[in-house]
């Protein structure tokens, strides 16, 4: 058992260290520009199903821009609804994710020249005759990412908007009849139809007559990067690079207006569910091993230390310490973990504490675990008979010695079952970490699902992975409990 754990730890260490070790090798003094992109929005930004590499039209365009402008890129993947927050918080420097120009955005951000002309389309369940134009959406429900331009369009047309995380999820809601329609980019819709080979949904019509223009978005004050991007885009248009990238994906040049009907056939192959699951199994397992499990272990360890500190403070004689501990526990238990994650990652930078994704994730989760486990630890300590403290005192032991050698080993008996529950919850809570831009198991499932445009089998696979680990933890708990109960008369 112990040996197996050590091997697992070593394996994870190797997986974690190898890629980052390779990256720092070369000396490079080009400026680093962090690109925010969804990674789940094919054909613009997605992961190739076989290599898991980030690619897509927007990804290739920003890479070409970087080459011309002399930038070193660092991609940061996030959901669209967190992408502008990330830009404003300085987590990323540019968004390359089909940001559609509109007056609000133009006022708030630095928008580059256009690199995609497209139009929105309305997608409905096949056979739905009542919806063909925007005005038909009045009183209907559509599924959109809440912060997109299309969500705004739907709202203006009088539709109710349900928030979703991406195109594939929206499409599933349409197929299931839970919403009436979705509005999205013509190219994204064509990609979906092509990749899934589905006959369950269809493009019903254009969402208005306007052609929309997609641009790179920078912080408003970041004029230098914006200028460099515009120069690069102009050069790429002039030398035909942009047209070439576009034709690879759409057979036409979408970087100019009115270039005809896009054709996405022959793009990514339609894959069976079994094939999709097979292709995604290893990348997801990797994320389980290098992200989900290590973050869980580290957060639990740190959280346990916090919990012990809070528990000891809470039963100490000092009124101040007790007050601090109780406030901490109350705040943690009284606020959602998602909010805690947002505060640590997007809030703390405002007061100058700018933590990268992983430390922010570990900090938020540790604080959370600490708050919950503190009460468990406290009642476990109090469950140790008073006579044990006195016996330790009478043989001359000090405070810490008594805790370490006499109290904790006995308190563990009481604490292990509820702490195991905390650990299991923690493991599952890591699935929220995509909001702080950590790609863990569940985020990887989302990435794979969006590339394949199906998500049910992949979420099922993710569930299976979580379940296997939780079952292993539960088995471990049983063994520890047997060990701890050894010395107690039954």
């Amino acid at each position: 058992m112990r040996h197996a754990l050590r091997v697992l730890a070593l394996l994870m260490l190797v997986l974690v260290v190898t890629p980052s070790g390779a990256a720092v090798a070369a000396q490079d003094d080009r400026p680093v520009v962090r690109v925010g992109t969804e990674g789940t929005y094919p054909p613009f930004s997605f992961h190739e199903s076989d290599t898991n590499k980030l690619t897509g039209y927007d990804v290739e365009v920003i890479k070409a821009v970087a080459k011309k402008a002399g930038w070193r890129l660092q991609f940061v993947e996030t959901t669209f609804d967190a992408i502008f927050a990330a830009l404003e918080a300085g987590r990323i420097d540019v968004i390359a994710n089909q940001v559609t120009d509109n007056p609000e955005r133009a006022a708030r951000y630095g928008l580059s020249d256009t690199y995609t002309y497209s139009r929105g389309v309305i997608v409905v369940k096949k056979g739905e005759k009542g919806i063909t134009k925007l005005s038909d959406l009045k009183g209907k429900t559509t599924a959109q990412s809440l912060t997109t331009n299309y969500a705004e369009l739907a709202r203006k047309a009088g539709a109710k908007v349900e928030g979703v995380e991406g195109f594939a999820q929206a499409a599933a809601l349409v197929v299931q009849g839970r919403v009436d329609a979705l509005i999205n980019d013509n190219l994204a819709a064509l990609d979906y139809l092509n990749t899934t080979g589905t006959d369950k949904i269809e493009i019903a019509g254009n969402a208005g007559d306007e052609v929309s223009e997609q641009k790179l978005a920078f912080r408003k004050d970041d004029t230098q990067l914006l200028q460099q991007a515009d120069d690069a885009l102009a050069a790429l248009k002039a030398d035909g690079t942009l047209a070439k990238i576009s034709k690879k994906y759409f057979k036409i040049d979408v970087s100019v207006e009115n270039s005809g009907e896009a054709d996405l056939s022959g793009g990514r192959a339609v894959r069976s569910d079994a094939q999709i699951v097979k292709d995604s199994a290893w990348p997801m397992l990797q994320k389980l091993l290098i992200a989900t499990i290590p973050i869980t272990i580290v957060s639990f360890a740190v959280g346990l230390v916090l919990a012990v500190a809070a528990a000891l403070a809470n039963i100490s004689g000092s009124r101040v310490l007790r007050g601090i501990a109780r406030t901490y526990i109350s705040v943690i238990r009284g606020t959602p973990l998602l909010v805690q994650l947002f505060i640590v990652f997007y809030g703390l930078p405002e007061i100058g504490i700018d933590l990268p994704s992983w430390p922010a994730a570990v900090l938020a989760l540790s604080l959370n675990v600490g708050g919950y486990a503190a009460e468990i630890v406290r009642s476990a300590i109090l469950s140790v008979p008073k006579g044990q403290f006195e016996a330790a005192a009478t043989i001359g032991m000090g405070y810490w010695q008594t805790l370490r050698r006499i109290v904790f080993p006995q308190a563990a008996r009481t604490a292990v079952p509820p702490l195991s529950n905390t650990l299991i919850s923690l493991l599952k809570d890591t699935s929220l970490l995509s909001v702080v831009l950590v790609t863990e198991l569940f985020r990887q499932a989302q990435i794979a699902a969006s590339a394949a445009q199906v998500f049910f089998p992949l979420y099922l696979l993710a569930a299976l992975y979580y379940w296997v680990v939780c079952a292993a933890l539960a088995a471990g708990q049983g063994r520890i409990e047997t060990r701890l109960n050894r010395f107690v008369a039954r």
Binding site: G387, E390, T394, I395, G396, M397, I406, F487, V488, A489
Partner: protein
């Protein structure tokens, strides 16, 4: 036990109150090296509190306690770090055997006994183990060294408790009703061990309700009632021929029942 030698234990004017409950109201007594002192008294009279005060598990409000060459005047004891160092020095002078043994359940018998010597006194493990084995032999538990407390009978557990207290080589061993939690048939084996200690020259203070036992082994008997020492003297004096009415009443009651 000549009158000229300084007593090993000296207690003067010891008081302790829990809120309004004045449990010790000025206890005075002394015990010479190598003697056995039996403490008798009705329930609630403050016997346990007195023993706990000697071991500083309870901090007295006032009074002087001296064991060997460590002395504390509790009336003037300041708070803080210095006081903790003082009290732990005094505490180290005595070993405590509890009514309900309070053995460490997660440690073996041997580990229970060496815990103090190794962890607190920092003695070498081999030496502590050799010592502990000898003590376990003395209390008749050599075979049980590697078992855990839950595998032992109540009498055996109490004897391990005694070995644990002796292992620290204290000046005085304090017993708080060491047999009253035991089944009657187990009382004898524990009393035999304590009697043995007396003959080996250990100084002991024993709170007990076993009057016959006290009569046999005690060099000195204290009768406590209402937080003061009502009567003290040899067992022949205090138990055989008490001079105070309260002592007589107590003995009559307890001997009728026992």
């Amino acid at each position: 036990m000549t009158d000229t030698s300084r007593p090993l234990v000296a207690v003067t004017g010891l008081t302790k109150a829990f809120g309004d409950n004045h449990v010790l109201r000025g206890v005075d007594f002394a015990a010479s090296s190598g003697t056995t002192t039996a403490v008798l008294g009705p329930s609630g009279s403050g016997k346990t509190t007195l023993l706990r005060a000697l071991n500083v598990l309870e901090t007295p409000d006032a009074g002087l306690v001296r064991i060997g060459d460590v002395e504390i005047d509790f009336a003037t004891l300041p708070a803080g770090k210095k006081a903790r160092a003082e009290t732990s020095r005094l505490r180290a002078q005595s070993g405590m055997v509890f009514q309900s043994h309070n053995l460490f359940p997660h440690k073996t018998v041997l580990e229970n006994v060496i815990e103090g010597p190794v962890q607190v006194q920092k003695r070498p493990v081999d030496e502590a183990v050799a010592d502990a084995r000898q003590l376990l032999e003395q209390v008749g538990l050599s075979e049980k060294a590697d078992q855990h407390p839950f595998e032992l009978s109540g009498g055996q557990q109490q004897r391990v408790g005694i070995a644990r207290a002796l292992a620290l080589r204290p000046e005085v061993v304090l017993f708080d009703e060491p047999t009253s939690a035991l089944d009657p048939e187990l009382v004898g084996e524990v009393l035999a061990v304590i009697k043995d200690l007396a003959s080996q020259g250990w100084t002991t203070v024993i709170v007990t309700h076993e009057i016959r036992f006290a009569e046999q082994v005690a060099d000195q008997v204290l009768f406590i009632d209402g937080g003061v020492v009502v009567e003290h003297g040899t067992s022949a004096q205090v138990i055989g021929d008490p001079s105070e009415e309260r002592t007589r009443q107590f003995l009559r009651r307890i001997l009728d029942i026992g």
